[in-house]
């Protein structure tokens, strides 16, 4: 088992859901592909999708919904 991290591509507010009343894009334990969206980053009022960029299984999220994140900060751990 090899563990890799997904890093935030941008600084801003990290959202795990597409909208406040919608379920999370992905949960711990989900299997993902490279093109899957795992969250949104709000930067200066514009919303940007975060793609997984890796295929594997999500071990855990390191950033929670509505956390402030910096560019390059790890946001999830993936078992690839």
């Amino acid at each position: 088992m090899a563990i890799q991290q997904i890093f935030s591509p941008l600084p801003g507010i990290f959202y795990r859901k597409p909208a406040p009343d919608k379920p999370a894009y992905k949960s711990d334990g989900d299997t993902i592909t490279e093109d899957d969206t795992i969250g949104l980053i709000e930067v200066m009022k514009s919303f940007n999708e975060v793609k997984a960029g890796l295929a594997g299984k999500i071990l855990r999220f390191l950033a929670e919904n509505e956390d402030a994140v910096m560019a390059g900060q790890p946001i999830a751990e993936i078992d690839v």
Binding site: L10, K45, S46, F47, V50
Partner: protein, 477 residues
């Protein structure tokens, strides 16, 4: 009761603007800040500062309780909300007054009335102000709405009663589109605003956006003429000017008189703006909505009238009557404001937070730069992308455009990409120079002129993994 100590419940360039005005009036200032905003320019200028919460606006600048607690802790007797955030939140205005403090703005009742776009249309109609042809009151059912659009004809805009500022708008060109969009609009309005009420307006294609600045003291109202803000991208204003280059004196007089009539009918207090669509082929204007706050583009009005709008609104909030009579106001010359945003016009206006590595600010006669910038400042990613507003004033529009070009040439902001190249290209454009534009002019222009917008000042590389999806629904300016 004159204000002794003013708390600024905002951030960025408008906080700087309000602090300056308060200081000129001899009023002490308190600047609130989030954890991500400790380095902001407003805090360097204010007499004192107080933290109100974490970076997320929802937990700091939008947190009513935190702001009221900050006012109490610092002994402020008044709160200025600026624009955006809590500026048009009637419950906040009421809570400020209930706490025994002065809200620098209109009454909660005025904010609530004008915030309900259907009620505002009705107030306008009963004050004799022409509104865009469309529904009288809310449309509760899709059938009622369809009966109406059969009369107005297509295209129509479906708007949320609780929306505003361009939010919650859908455009239907045909009956099929209308039947498809109406239920969607209803569901979206309910989800976004907690109010599924809708109204329908005829879409007036090729119209200009013209707005009238008013000042009221609760008894009397004056206007400070109009601004034209037809150059918009995604319904956000980009370039604003005063006076409008497209009005004749007779129409200007009618338009401004209609704004005063509506503001008087609601006993308006403070600075406010009535937005209109103007069709320069039929010479008809139609009331759109009223913004019950100071606006981003207020400086162009200040430049042509000599009235300091922010100072006047603070004086009125402190209990003074209007000091200016309508017959004392004249239009002097022409003023243009361009918004310098931390967005890269060469990359679909990608937001661009970062650190300012060099800053040269233009100067000279008739040049004003209202901004949140200083050399070495790191622009946080959490808030609006507006860095500053470059404002010029000159004897006429052609001279003002030349002065704008010169000032943009002097403006140097290094470390992040800005919208400066967009404004340089617009100032060179023959249609802009001739004022041949309307609210749907800029977006197609951007599509054909994208190549000329490459920024000369290096931007940090943006990662390829981030794809912009949609603009936020939380824009407040």
């Amino acid at each position: 009761m004159a204000i002794q100590k003013l708390l600024i419940a905002n951030r960025g360039e408008i906080a700087v603007r309000i602090i300056r005005a308060a200081r000129e009036l001899g009023i002490a200032t308190v600047q609130v800040y989030s954890k991500a905003d400790k380095e902001q320019l407003a805090m360097r200028l204010a007499d004192e500062s107080i933290e109100i919460g974490p970076a997320q606006a929802s937990k700091s600048y939008l947190n009513r309780d935190a702001i009221l607690a900050a006012a109490k802790a610092t002994g402020a007797d008044a709160i200025h909300p600026g624009y955006g955030f809590l500026a048009e939140n009637a419950d906040f205005a009421a809570a400020v007054e209930a706490a025994g403090l002065i809200f620098v703005g209109p009454t909660a009742q005025s904010i609530r009335l004008m915030g309900d776009k259907v009620a505002a249309r009705e107030a306008a109609a009963s004050a004799g102000v022409p509104t865009v042809p469309g529904s009288q009151g809310r449309l509760e059912t899709a059938d009622a709405a369809f009966d109406l659009v059969k009369l107005t004809g297509f295209p129509v805009m479906i708007k949320a009663a609780a929306g505003g500022g361009g939010r919650g708008i859908r455009i239907a060109h045909t009956a099929e589109e209308f039947h498809h969009l109406m239920p969607q609009a209803q569901a979206e309005a309910l989800a976004a605003f907690g109010d599924g009420g809708l109204y329908v307006e005829k879409l007036i294609e090729g119209a200009r956006h013209i707005e009238v600045q008013v000042l009221g003291d609760g008894h009397n109202v004056i206007h400070c003429f109009e601004r034209e803000c037809s150059l918009q991208r995604r319904r956000q204003k980009v370039w604003e000017e005063a006076p409008s280059p497209s009005l004749t004196p007779a129409i200007r007089e009618k338009l401004c008189a209609s704004a005063v009539a509506l503001a008087k009918a609601v006993h308006y207090r403070g600075a406010g703006t009535l937005e209109y669509l103007y069709d320069d082929r039929s010479h008809e204007f139609h009331f759109l909505e009223m913004n019950t706050r100071i606006q981003v583009e207020h400086p162009v009005t200040e430049m042509i009238t000599g009235v300091d709008l922010v100072r006047e609104m603070i004086r009125i909030a402190g209990g003074e009557r209007l000091r200016i009579r309508q017959d004392q106001l004249r239009i002097n010359g022409h003023s243009i404001e361009v918004r310098i945003n931390a967005e890269d016009p060469a990359k679909s206006f990608m937001p661009n937070p970062g650190t300012i590595t060099a800053l040269d600010v233009p100067g000279g006669n008739g040049v004003r730069f209202d901004s949140l910038l200083y050399d070495g400042y790191t622009v946080p990613p959490f808030y609006d992308s507006l860095l500053g507003k470059l404002i010029v004033h000159d004897e006429d529009r052609a001279s003002a455009i030349r002065r704008l070009s010169c000032a943009l040439g002097e403006l140097k902001i290094e470390g992040l990409a800005t919208t400066k190249p967009l404004h340089q290209a617009l100032a060179r454009d023959a249609d802009v120079q001739a004022a041949r534009f309307h609210t749907a002019w800029l977006e197609p222009w951007l599509a054909t002129n994208a190549a000329s917008l490459a920024t000369a000042e290096a931007a940090p590389p943006t990662p390829a993994t981030a794809k912009e999806t949609a603009p936020s629904a939380t824009g407040g300016q």
